[in-house]
Symmetry: C2
């Protein structure tokens, strides 16, 4: 992918249109810049967790399944075993750390924008690592209330007052 | 750093000695493989959040402040502005995504082992980005109860029974 194509894509995914609206328990409308899935994969197949090729292919494939745009990939193998890996995507990142000796992998799927489907990536990885006891926590990142949303490239109220 | 030196380091940081012991509300002893700080940096200096050099230097310096061993670095600039970056460390990773238009950065500091000091990295970044409204949530990753800890390279109870 050319740098220009990449930058063009990110422009749309990082714009104000990518804010995710949700309602708090008190009924207040809030917006989040990012959605972060913390995925705990327990009771996995340890042979898969040990393999650099398997773990890398799983995380890259998960990013593709989620419709992410892959920007960079970095995987490292530890001694005696265990893999750490990051897939940087235009919409943020996926990361994994495996502990084959405990049948466990910690996965993070941090995304922004409306197009990407992080839950598809999570479901894919649960299956791929044969996790018999997975759990997922979703954290909203960069929560903004309606009042402090200033759309980029658009006059804010204070700017309009100074012009008048 | 040579590959051998890196592997040697990781061996010690990923061993059973790196488990962090803590007590649940019910008084139960538990162990966690990883400590994950989710750092919300609000009301930052947007000029710093826009600069690839500043953001990269801040995250790399934060990793060093925490006594981490840096393995790989990947940073990307978006159009019209915003930076995504990852610092892979032997003890797991640091990541950052910045939204200068909202004065906001999402930082993750995922670590394992007893030597590293993730809270020092978090404090450093709060100061470096001049965040006037930071918050930190700590998530324990890979929680194990006392019963399901099997030390690697040591017979488990079931293995001993099969021998008897």
């Amino acid at each position: 992918m050319t740098k220009d194509a990449f930058l063009g894509y990110v422009f749309s995914s990082r714009g104000s249109a990518s804010l995710r609206k949700f309602t708090s328990k008190g009924g207040r409308e809030l917006y989040a810049l990012g959605a972060h899935l913390l995925v705990e994969l327990k009771d996995c197949n340890p042979e898969i967790l040990k393999s650099l090729e398997e773990v890398r292919d799983a995380l890259v494939s998960a990013a593709r399944e989620a419709k992410a745009t892959i920007v960079d990939i970095s995987f490292h193998e530890f001694s005696p075993f265990g893999i750490s890996g990051m897939v940087v995507i235009a919409e943020s990142h996926l990361s994994i750390h495996t502990w084959p000796e405990y049948g466990y992998a910690a996965v993070d799927i941090f995304t922004c924008g409306e197009v990407i489907r992080p839950e598809v990536a999570a479901a894919y990885l649960i299956e791929r690592f044969e996790s018999k006891s997975p759990s997922i926590v979703e954290m909203k990142r960069g929560i903004l209330s309606h009042e402090n949303i200033k759309l980029p490239h658009k006059c804010s109220e204070s700017e309009m007052q100074s012009v008048a």
